[in-house]
């Protein structure tokens, strides 16, 4: 698979470490009253869809940026690649 890095252009997926569902960017609030249940869900449960999946890839052997890749788990086709920092900023995080 080739991942089209927003800054570096097309790179071999072997340069990256796969870090799973991109929802892991949204860590639950540890002070919330339901924190234990929310962290159980966050740490262990996954949608694991057959089809389009937004997921985190870490450019470990490259510029060490985190990417959010939209990839089809049935065909391995990649439709979008974003910098995780851009995604987080768009959600209002600093």
């Amino acid at each position: 698979m080739i991942i089209n890095h927003p800054l570096l252009g097309p790179r071999d997926s072997a340069e990256f470490t796969y870090m799973g569902d991109a929802r892991l960017m949204d860590r639950p609030d540890p002070d919330a009253p339901d924190a234990a249940a929310a962290f159980y869900d966050y740490a262990y449960l996954r949608d694991n869809p057959a089809g389009w999946h937004r997921e985190l890839w870490f450019h470990e052997a490259g510029d060490r940026s985190w990417l959010v890749v939209t990839r089809n788990t049935v065909t391995h086709e990649i439709s979008a690649v974003e910098l995780a920092s851009d995604v987080a900023r768009a959600q209002g995080r600093t």
Binding site: S13, Y18, G20, Y40, Y44, L45, R46, T73
Partner: protein
């Protein structure tokens, strides 16, 4: 029809006209006592034990494709019971004991071959870890043997024991481990289940569950509704997809694992060998092909085929201990979809929905578990209690902090 040497001779002399199909192709009934979803090794074994051991007469196995087309027909056929943790080892040893009597139980030649498995040791720390594991195995009634470098040289003279980077300092052997003809396991269980009255329904995909007031009443399928008092799901890599139909989210990711077979060679490899410094394992099939594999590709996938980086990684492992493999041509390679659980161990449990039961999370080690998984799941379905060797395989263990994490990797499913 019983299979025997006498039967083979009789058929040979009468033009092989007496053989019958090994199982029927029944039309689904409107209602069963128990419906098992998934005609892989685990689903078929469950049906066999339900009928034979637990006296259940109205059982069906529902398979979306053909039986044996999933992981049971794609794996590298290794069986062993060399686990460390209490939640696992008694279960896998129970499985190995069932393998040892499988062919008599099924009246089917599954080519169970206890040719032994050898995990190579390359460092002093690894020797300590494997010695501990061997002791845990012995405490649970399994066999384990630490071999010296000299012992290994005698058995496998071609191994480079003095390699500067990865010297072979010994090995953990389980002589009762080995290989089994994977397709024959599916066919043998199917034939036996069928002969005990189980309906095996192929080309029938489960597309939904009928759940009324928190009780599962049966399954919607591409061949219509099939009612059941209890529904047991055993669909391996498709577990998350299937259980999503009951609005469940599982502690699991689906990943692709690749395997490889070389052209047929003369006998070179008497047992199963695993490389301890990378991830590579190899055995030789009865046809002569060297069957080998290694790590997952590492990303979520339902594609049943992998990519080249994993191929390269496996071949590097092969060349590190087994340079002669570089001269053999690769005949075939393929992939299967693994139900990778968050702690690397399986789940055999009830769900929160009455009448709906689940078996999955086998990661890439579920073939060896087939007999015990079927037995334990049948026990749970028939008696509503877990089998004594499978009490730790609960859904709530993640929430309760009772993970069974053999590798100590944490909740990173692609590392188990």
């Amino acid at each position: 029809m019983r299979y025997s040497a006498f039967r083979v001779i009789k058929e040979a002399l009468t033009g092989h006209k007496g053989w019958k199909p090994a199982w029927r192709d029944p039309v689904p009934a409107a209602q069963y006592d128990i419906v098992v979803v998934g005609g892989g090794g685990h689903g078929l074994a469950t049906a066999h034990y339900l009928a034979k051991e637990f006296g259940q007469a109205r059982v069906a196995v529902i398979e979306k494709g053909w039986i044996g087309g999933g992981n049971v027909g794609r794996n590298t056929t290794i069986i062993r019971s060399n686990y460390l943790l209490d939640g696992n080892e008694p279960f896998y040893e129970f499985s190995l004991k069932l393998w040892e009597n499988l062919e008599q139980d099924l009246n089917y030649n599954a080519m169970v071959s206890q040719r032994g498995i050898l995990n190579l040791i390359h460092s002093d720390g690894q020797r300590d870890a494997f010695t501990r594991r061997g002791n845990a195995m012995i405490l649970n009634g399994a066999d384990a043997d630490i071999l010296s470098t000299e012992d290994i040289k005698k058995r496998y003279p071609f191994l480079n024991t003095d390699d500067a980077r990865f010297p072979i300092k010994g090995g953990l052997a389980q002589h009762r481990g080995g290989t089994v003809r994977h397709d024959a396991v599916a066919w043998g269980y199917a034939r036996s289940a069928d002969s005990h009255g189980v309906d095996i329904i192929q080309n029938c995909e489960v597309t939904g569950f009928r759940i009324e007031d928190g009780v599962c009443k049966g399954v919607e399928t591409t061949r219509g509704f099939i009612g059941a008092k209890k529904v047991g799901c055993a669909v391996a890599g498709n577990s998350s997809r299937l259980m999503a139909l009951a609005n469940m989210r599982l502690p699991m990711e689906s990943h692709v694992l690749q395997a490889f077979v070389s052209e047929g060679l003369k006998p070179v490899l008497p047992g199963v060998i695993t490389f301890g410094a990378g991830h590579f394992y190899c055995s030789q099939s009865d046809k002569g092909g060297l069957v080998f594999g290694g790590d997952l590709d590492g990303y979520n996938s339902y594609a049943q085929r992998g990519n080249l980086p994993a191929v390269e990684d496996v071949c590097e492992g092969a060349m590190a201990i087994f340079p002669m493999l570089g001269r053999a041509r690769l005949l075939r390679m393929w992939g299967g979809i693994m139900d990778m659980s968050m702690d690397g161990s399986p789940i055999i449990d009830k769900t929160h929905i009455d009448g709906l039961y689940f078996n999955g999370g086998w990661c890439y080690g579920g073939f060896k578990a087939t007999p015990a998984s079927g037995f334990a799941f049948a026990h749970l379905l028939a008696k509503d209690e877990p089998h004594p060797t499978a009490t730790a395989y609960r859904f709530d263990r993640f929430e309760k902090g009772r993970m069974i994490d053999e590798k100590g990797m944490g909740n990173q499913p692609n590392l188990h």
